[in-house]
């Protein structure tokens, strides 16, 4: 055990058990998985991506490239989880990954031996011969070796929530700067959101031993947090990471609601996606320490100095017995001091900066002007140090802490395209032009000392509150302990032994970058892509700046000339499930149910999706052997008796106003201003490009009022189109329009007995042909409820549609069934509806496919020549009037028994099945009980001239080839006797 007996912010009264790679360990509340592993002397935690090199913990934060584990098991397994950000819970189970058979002995480490061959981009140069082996051999090998952890393959069992937030000020990061900013703005009365990716507020104050107002910094943090919690306008979101900035001050953030638990509590979401609109934002996300580039810098035991500091101070977990420091930054000296204070032996402090001595470190061997040139041991045992004079010595150390300076964590600040610029003052990139409304504070702004950080926060917080009209007194600036922040440029030790890693996870070394430059990949973007640098799960947080420095060096440029890389969302990887939230599986999209849905369920309906609607597809009866039998029975019932169909899903739009008729004349190819009140008419509307948009019937309810129907699929599009026409094209017209689809439940009553059925229901109504002919419409009442009756027919039979307000739809359909009982009224679904309409040659979705003209579908005669309407001019273009175009016709198998297939193509008889002979395709097919065989509608080149000809319906996918006769698309009652009956 390497746990200090006292100190740290862990709760020793709450011991926790956990399991890593099958072994049991103990930790405490307040631990991360990483700190608990350190406390248990577990030093090997992962394998690198490419060479499968053994790796230990590098950091103590979200930037961790090495310690990726699969957390939990079964369906909750979560691959590639950073041990450094996993809060320990009792019973936690984690496994190392990307190794086989075990972490200690990984056969894939053979890749490391091949590393002289496996340099950056090697795969572009080989594996080309023979071509067939790529998918069969090379690629499967590469794929198996690549990847990191594995998904469980089972559906994610957890739920995800979404939330929206609005605030005056969004503070990202609750370190000293963020806390100060939130406090200043919060006290002034501003609405503040404070986001902290950890559970504990305080940031660096939790890991460092600085004092504020004479007391430990973490106590100051706790007091500020307590005060903020009590302010009603301040919202603190813990375990929440802002992952992206979007347009107009919108932010995305992810709250890990239950990730610190073994599993979410009942009803509790695992995570919550926040979409936040913030008038002002203060980015106070701190800074990330950068590694030093020297040979062997990836050996387990080589860690970031700030991580060592955090493990020792915050978690009381000491990663080694003898710790050496390699630092180019004053912060490394502070770590040495902290280690000494904790009683840990410091083997050496090596600082290549000549003469740097920010503080006195008695009893620490100092190597001013020295460098580390090598590391040794499978797990680190010793290091080679070249002293200022050039003498190389071997120093025993089981941990080497690197402190290569700090890079501001301004990632999301670049999301909108602001380019970071190089600062010679801090030897890193800073953001000078953050997105609108955003300010940076503290380390994120490149100001690293504690006093600067808190000062920044207070100032920016006050300024943001004042901008929002909240005036107040700034909280007094606290006294802070001394904190030096001197630093050197990114440091590379040339000519050391072993590889110097830049990107630890993707195994990109200094020599890979040199090779990339040699081969002409000198743009930083080319470098990234060629070497895969920065593309690992850590998104280059520890590698990007060092890579820039090397790129500049190898290409002989100054670092400012080497270009910059923008960071794009997400700042940290975010679970895909969180973006989907509630809308997954069966909840992907809402379901729309008609008023008669319950009735249809009772009738044994099978349902089909029509957009978001559930429509009854057919109503099987006991004893029926298959859907074809059921559907044929339903269709026959309509042709011979009476059937009932729920047509409520058709789009319904009401137009009112003095100019409603004028607008309709411009919307449709035919005229509606001439329609008589109480009459309906079929209409076709085009897009402005001359292609059919939709069709339906329109009824004139009053002089200034029309009721039009659309296809189910196009309801929203037509409504939008009408609004476009009346608001943009012709705003001078007096027309009001609204969707009434949901107001009216509507049922088709179709068949020769439909009039009798209606007469039972509405005995007072004169439904005779004379009083109520085909295409008549009337408004009446039924049991005190408004009812609309239309004599419309999609089936070609004598038929009516009845509409009542949807709250009475269920009552109406039941009343219709009751009235129809003596007539054996038969409910029919969309499938029989399809049979009936195909028998009549009515175009529907498969024909209104966005590629057909009115003339293609046989409506050429309806196109008015006496008025302008949308699509008129473009419909006359040569390509749309070409006599060679496929047009709507009917087809029947010549043998009268073969089955037809939708989507089959039409080819002449006696020619090979090649595209040159393709003349059209089958759009819709049905088994017609009336014709006692399969029939179809098709679009065939010059089809109307070819009635009686034989062609073949060829379905190569399903291997059928049926000789068909070309016929009129109207199979049943072409004279229309039935529907006028």
């Amino acid at each position: 055990m390497s746990r200090l007996a006292a100190g740290g912010l862990i709760d020793r009264s709450q011991p926790l058990r956990f399991r890593f790679d099958g072994r049991d360990y103990g930790g405490f509340a307040g631990d991360t998985l990483a700190s608990a592993l350190i406390a248990n002397d577990v030093r090997l935690v992962g394998r690198s991506f490419k060479y499968h090199r053994p790796r230990g913990l590098l950091t103590a934060g979200a930037e961790e490239p090495n310690a990726l584990v699969t957390l939990r098991a079964g369906a909750r397994a979560e691959p590639n989880s950073r041990a450094t950000t996993i809060e320990l819970y009792d019973g936690l189970e984690a496994k190392s990954q990307n190794r086989w058979p075990s972490l200690g002995f990984d056969l894939m480490a053979v890749n490391g031996l091949m590393s002289p061959l496996f340099v950056a981009g090697f795969y572009y140069k080989t594996f080309m011969w023979p071509a067939a082996l790529w998918e069969k051999l090379y690629e499967p090998l590469i794929r198996r070796a690549a990847g990191l952890g594995a998904l469980s393959g089972a559906p994610d069992p957890d739920h995800y929530d979404k939330a929206h937030g609005f605030c005056d000020l969004l503070v990202i990061g609750a370190g000293p700067a963020g806390l100060a900013a939130a406090l200043a703005a919060g006290r002034a009365g501003a609405r503040v959101f404070l986001l902290e990716q950890e559970n504990e507020l305080g940031g660096r104050l939790l890991s460092e031993r600085h004092e504020i107002d004479g007391r430990p910094g973490h106590l100051w943090a706790r007091e500020v947090a307590d005060e903020l919690s009590a302010l009603p306008e301040v919202t603190i979101l813990r375990r929440t990471t802002a992952f992206g900035v979007y347009d107009d001050r919108s932010y995305g953030a992810i709250e890990r609601v239950a990730d610190h638990l073994a599993e979410p509590l009942p009803g509790q979401p695992r995570q919550r996606l926040w979409k936040i609109v913030a008038k002002r934002t203060i980015l106070a996300a701190g800074a990330i320490e950068r590694p030093i580039l020297f040979g062997g810098n990836d050996r387990p035991g080589v860690m970031m100095a700030s991580a060592v500091q955090s493990y020792v101070n915050r978690f009381a977990a000491v990663p080694g017995r003898r710790i050496a420091l390699f630092t180019t930054s004053d912060s490394g000296w502070q770590v040495a001091a902290d280690l000494r204070a904790a009683g840990v032996e410091v083997a050496a402090l090596i600082d290549p900066r000549e003469g740097a001595a920010p503080m006195a470190l008695p009893d620490v061997p100092l190597f001013a002007g020295g460098t580390v040139t090598s590391t040794h041991g499978r797990i680190l045992r010793s290091i080679g140090v070249r002293a200022a004079g050039g003498r190389v010595t071997r120093i025993a150390a089981d941990v080497l802490a690197m402190a290569g300076g700090w890079n501001p964590a301004m990632g999301i600040g670049c999301n909108l395209g602001s380019r970071p610029i190089w600062s010679e003052a801090i030897h890193s990139f800073v953001l000078k032009a953050p997105p609108p409304g955003m300010a940076l504070a503290g380390a994120a702004a490149g100001r690293f000392s504690l006093a600067e950080t808190i000062g920044d926060g207070l100032r920016e917080g006050m300024a943001a509150a004042a901008d929002m009209g909240h005036e107040g007194h700034a909280p007094p600036m606290p006294r802070t302990s001394d904190d030096k922040a001197g630093v050197a440029a990114p440091w590379h030790v040339p000519g050391g032994r072993g590889k110097a890693f830049v990107d630890f996870q993707h195994d990109v070394t200094d020599s890979d970058i040199a090779l990339s430059v040699r081969e002409g990949f000198r743009s930083v973007e080319h470098l990234k892509r060629y070497t895969t640098l920065g593309m690992a799960t850590d998104q280059g947080k520890t590698s990007q700046v060092n890579a820039h420095a090397l790129l500049a060096m190898y290409s002989g440029k100054a670092i400012v000339e080497a270009g910059t890389v923008l960071s794009r969302p997400p700042y940290l990887p975010v679970a895909i499930g969180a973006f989907a939230g509630h809308h997954r599986d069966a909840d992907f999209r809402p379901v729309r149910l008609t008023a008669g849905h319950g009735w249809a369920v009772e009738q044994g309906a099978r349902f089909v999706d029509a957009g978001q609607w559930k429509r009854a597809q057919w109503f099987a009866r006991p004893g029926e052997t298959g859907w074809l039998e059921t559907v044929s029975r339903e269709a026959r019932a309509v042709r011979s008796g009476v059937g009932l169909c729920d047509v409520s899903t058709l789009g319904k739009i009401e137009l009112s106003g003095a100019d409603a008729g004028v607008l309709l004349d411009r919307l449709y190819i035919n005229n509606f201003s001439t329609l008589k009140v109480g009459r309906a008419r079929y209409g076709v509307m085009l897009r402005e490009d001359g292609i059919v948009m939709d069709d339906g019937t329109t009824t004139r309810l009053a002089e200034d009022r029309y009721f039009l129907t659309t296809t189910t699929a196009n309801a929203a599009r037509v409504m939008q189109h009408i609004d476009y026409c009346r608001q943009i094209l012709w705003p001078e017209l007096d027309v009001q329009a609204v969707s009434v689809t949901e107001q009216w439940a509507q049922y088709a009553v179709a068949g020769p007995l439909s009039r009798r059925l209606l007469q039972y229901l509405l005995p007072d109504l004169d439904l005779s042909n004379e009083a109520f002919p085909f295409m008549a419409a009337a408004e009446t009442r039924w049991r005190g409820v408004p009812m609309r009756i239309f004599r419309l027919s999609f089936s070609g039979e004598l038929a009516y549609e009845l509409g009542v307000p949807a709250a009475y739809g269920d009552a109406l359909v039941r009343a219709l069934m009751e009235a129809g009982r003596p007539l054996d009224a038969t409910p029919y679904g969309t499938e029989a509806l399809g049979v009936l309409r195909i028998e009549k040659g009515h175009a529907a979705g498969n024909e209104l496919n966005g590629q057909t003209t009115a003339a293609d579908l046989g409506f050429g005669g309806m196109m008015s020549t006496k008025k302008d309407y949308i699509g008129r001019v473009m419909a006359a273009r040569p390509g749309l009037t070409d006599p060679d175009r496929p047009v709507l016709i009917g087809i029947r198998p010549v043998d009268r028994v073969s089955r037809l297939a939708g989507g089959a193509h039409l080819l002449p008889t006696g020619v090979p099945d090649i595209a040159a002979h393709d003349e059209g395709h089958v759009t819709s097919v049905a088994f017609s009980p009336m014709m006692d065989g399969w029939i179809g509608l098709a679009l065939l080149r010059r089809g109307r001239e070819r009635i009686g000809e034989h062609v073949r319906a060829v379905d190569l996918l399903r291997g059928t080839d049926v000789e068909v006769e070309i016929c009129s698309p109207v199979f049943v009652d072409p004279e229309g006797v039935r529907l006028r009956g």
Binding site: H164, D587, R589, P590, R705, Q736, A745, R783, G784, P786
Partner: protein, 199 residues
């Protein structure tokens, strides 16, 4: 058959029945008593005359804004420029003919009494729940009593308004009632709210 009014069927009734009754929970759900709902849209250039007529007829101060205003048994929810939902308490199924006649020439009136399902949400958690679905600032300063909005929640178009302190109503198209309810239930649970039925 005589004019025997059928009882309208509340779209949320079957779901509400599954809840426990409560007087003062953090999230209390109910379906308002059956009422007439109509879309009222001003005729071209008749906005001012329409406001005057409605004031005279119903005593209501018409606002051409996203607001909920009420007077007696009539309420208006602004849904767009020159457009409102008119709510009429205790209206008969054929009620809309009356305002249509009264406002003839000044507005087009479209009955939507059946088209919308309305859910009433009360309690301290109601605003939180709504803000989970609507990307609208539900802070009492931003969305006070009398505020209204046409928006979308959980892929379902919704009109919502605050009729009195911490009492909101949401109107959605009727066919979505089951999906909307499912979302309400899941989201309430995800936010530690136990929906109760108003006693």
């Amino acid at each position: 058959m005589a004019d025997l009014f059928l009882p309208a069927e509340g779209a949320f009734a079957p779901f509400l029945e599954t809840l426990s009754p409560s007087g003062n929970g953090r999230l209390v759900l109910s379906e308002p008593p059956a009422r007439g709902i109509a879309t009222v849209m001003a005729r071209a250039g008749q906005g001012a005359a329409l406001a005057t007529r409605m004031k005279a007829l119903y005593g209501i101060d018409v606002e051409d804004a996203a607001r909920f205003v009420t007077a007696g048994d009539v309420a208006l929810v602004g849904t767009g420029p020159g457009a409102w939902l008119m709510l009429r308490e205790g209206a008969a199924p054929d009620w809309a003919a009356q305002p249509a006649g009264e406002l003839d020439g000044l507005a087009s009136v479209f009955d939507q009494s059946s088209g919308y399902a309305v859910l009433r949400l009360g309690g301290a958690g109601a605003a939180t729940l709504l803000s989970r679905g609507a990307f609208i600032d539900m802070h009492p300063r931003a969305f006070p009593v009398g505020a209204a909005a046409v928006t979308v929640m959980s892929h379902i178009g919704a009109i919502l308004w605050q009729r009195e302190a911490a009492v909101y109503e949401v109107a959605i198209f009727r066919s979505y009632a089951a999906s909307f309810w499912h979302w309400i239930a899941a989201t309430a649970a995800a936010n530690g709210l136990t929906p109760m039925r108003s006693a």
